[in-house]
Amino acid sequence: AQSVTQPDARVTVSEGASLQLRCKYSYSATPYLFWYVQYPRQGLQMLLKYYSGDPVVQGVNGFEAEFSKSDSSFHLRKASVHWSDSAVYFCAVSPLSGSFNKLTFGAGTRLAVCP
């Protein structure tokens, strides 16, 4: 069964600093990979997704993520965070084949950006 691990429950960074949120997945083949963000009192929104090709994918609001097959990872990065990036970030995976490919979410990482 597929699984997703986000090892950091909470990350605190200063505004303007760089950011990396970690995600490791467990699956027998390369899955579809997603990052979703949940702002306070809102539903989840997709930031970016990876299917194949260039391992670095660009998302909205300056976010990017890098897929590593050898490391089974899909870490999220941002060069310079803003206070408005404070939110909970979820990594999710979905298998490549099958009639229904459900999303499996990690537990989430709560990001706090300090002024």
């Binding site: 539903g43 989840l44 979820f90 979410f105």
Partner: protein, 113 residues
């Protein structure tokens, strides 16, 4: 952009009570999903549907029923609510299947006393 709405936004009930959570999407997406979100667990899939009248079981279905009455409307039913069902519930929809972007509603916070 896809629009998914949920009602009510907050609900308090007592153990053994009957609760219905409603979800509507206005983009004619085929797939709709119900998740629960609990601290330390992320989102877990309860039920999903790929069209009106269709229902599929997710990963944590015990104690929940669901019904998809139209392309737009998907309901989650708790017929004998228990405190363990206190959670934040999200509905989502997608056009094709799980690999496609899922669009989420704002959530319903349920408290079972």
């Amino acid at each position: 952009e896809a629009a998914v709405t949920q009602s009510p936004r907050n609900k308090v009930t007592v153990t053994g009570g009957n609760v219905t959570l409603s979800c509507r999407q206005t983009n004619s997406h085929n797939y709709m999903y119900w998740y629960r979100q609990d601290t330390g667990h992320g989102l877990r899939l309860i039920h999903y549907s790929y069209g009106a009248g269709n229902l599929q079981i997710g990963d944590v279905p015990d104690g929940y029923k669901a019904t998809r009455t139209t392309q737009e409307d998907f309901f989650l039913l708790l017929e004998l609510a228990s405190p363990s069902q206190t959670s934040l519930y999200f509905c989502a929809s997608s056009d094709v299947w799980g690999q496609d972007t899922q669009y989420f509603g704002p959530g319903t916070r349920l408290l079972v006393l």
